[in-house]
Assembly symmetry: C2
Homo-oligomer: 274 residues x 2
């Protein structure tokens, strides 16, 4: 299978160009892509060097490289447009329509550097991250009044990464509390969660997938056994239904999908934007 | 100041539409936007309801709403195109050019649902996240052989959120190790770090900003005092220079910028894409 080289070039981090580029490239299953990210291209000289690199790849592979760009400063982009890559620039594509609709020119067009950190949004994300760390795995119950959300579920069902993603991307204060075998045998919600039922959201996962995840963590033993995994998941789901806790199956879902679903279903307000 | 309503609509999570939209909207400082995210719009009926909501906002505000969309299934989008919003569709804009260049049709155009989780990439992100959690704040030194990167710096300089972001976005195994007053007074690298110098990267931050962050965490006392903060930062930077450790000032940088810079400077290979 032929490999196509893809460049992500930006005068900033390139994260936006990457996110957008990957979401397009995943639509082409049959092609293998080799990704090259070049962030902080903040001068025409640096852009000219990247343009030469693009042309080099065109020579080497015999294929036109695909180039996703996002430049705050338009002028820097010029050498790339003269390269032999296919340059896809979403600023160039959309800003015109937006300027017309809004009746003002963008700071991009005006050549202004704004890009100053949005401190409030930044602080929210940091604070939420520390909150998630401090309230991981049943710790920090005393701070549940501050929580926007408390995730619960069995070990390795996806609680920790989801909490951290919600914190880092959206500034949401998410704690997580594991359901233990005691909870399952008593078929009761842990006391620590009882006062915060309206903040609870459950995770579940297919038994086969959970067994696999647990084996990777701790091979052998009861923890990853088919019987144990099935018992825990059945008990957890029973508790969710008994106490009217909404829950989501994480098996075929990315962390982004789990997080979006929870935010969308609960209506929790974001303190920051991705 | 007038407020303009912006919709992010998708048959999946909407993260792509939001990323695109926010990066464009930040170019218009003078306008206040009210954001409405509607993910998982996976039927024409749901899309028709969103279209009515868009028209309702047009009536209520007397302004045309801006609508960022990213639909894997094109057909579902139709009702939005008949709404009174300005619809900016990322896929519609770029997929044609990519299909032409690559000489194949996209799964989007073919109406295929792929969207299956990329399990390897997913597992990398989860494993890296657990690694970051287990090696936070100087823990897990025994696992440093597995680390791609070890961040160091004084308390509250941004180590933890950066490690978690690198894990969640890129599947990079990043540990972090705090520099303590003992290290500073001895002006020596902690023993735990000595064997892994090539994996080290330092963080620093402006004294005023650090004092502010520490005051928010623990008001009063020596921890957040101007003298203490200046002493710690001066000592940390001295250690970085003495041992040839690259470092970055996090003061005016977002977590994304810090992470991109480190990846770009070290050439650490990503195990997953954002």
């Amino acid at each position: 299978m032929a490999e196509r080289t893809v460049f992500f070039v930006s005068d900033r981090t390139g994260v936006t160009a990457e996110t957008l580029g990957h979401s397009l490239l995943t639509q082409f299953d049959a092609i293998r892509f080799k990704a090259v990210t070049v962030p902080f291209v903040d001068s025409v000289g640096k852009a000219a060097r990247v343009a030469r690199q693009i042309d080099g790849e065109a020579d080497r592979t015999g294929c036109r490289p695909i180039v996703f760009t996002s430049f705050v400063h338009n002028a820097i982009r010029a050498p790339l447009l003269r390269s032999r890559g296919l340059v896809l620039d979403y600023f160039a594509e959309f800003l015109g329509a937006l300027e017309e609709e809004l009746g003002v020119r963008s700071s991009h067009t005006l050549g202004k550097t704004h890009g100053m950190l949005d401190t409030r949004s930044y602080n929210s994300r940091i604070d939420a991250t520390h909150f998630a760390m401090d309230s991981d795995d049943g710790h920090g119950v005393i701070h549940y009044d501050q929580a926007d959300l408390i995730l619960t579920g069995v070990s390795r069902s996806g609680k920790t990464p989801t909490c951290l993603y919600l914190a880092l991307q959206y500034g949401v204060f998410a704690a997580n509390y594991p359901l233990t075998e005691d909870d399952m045998e008593s078929d009761r919600l842990p006391a620590a969660l009882n006062d915060h039922r309206q903040k609870l959201y459950g995770l579940t996962i297919a038994p086969g997938r959970l067994a696999q995840l647990r084996r990777e963590r701790r091979p052998g033993g009861n923890y990853a056994s088919a019987g144990q995994v099935r018992f825990e998941l059945r008990s957890a789901e029973h508790i969710y239904r008994k106490y009217g806790i909404r829950y989501i199956d994480t098996t075929q879902r990315s962390i982004e999908e789990i997080s979006s679903t929870i935010l969308s279903e609960t209506g929790i307000k974001r303190r920051a934007n991705p």
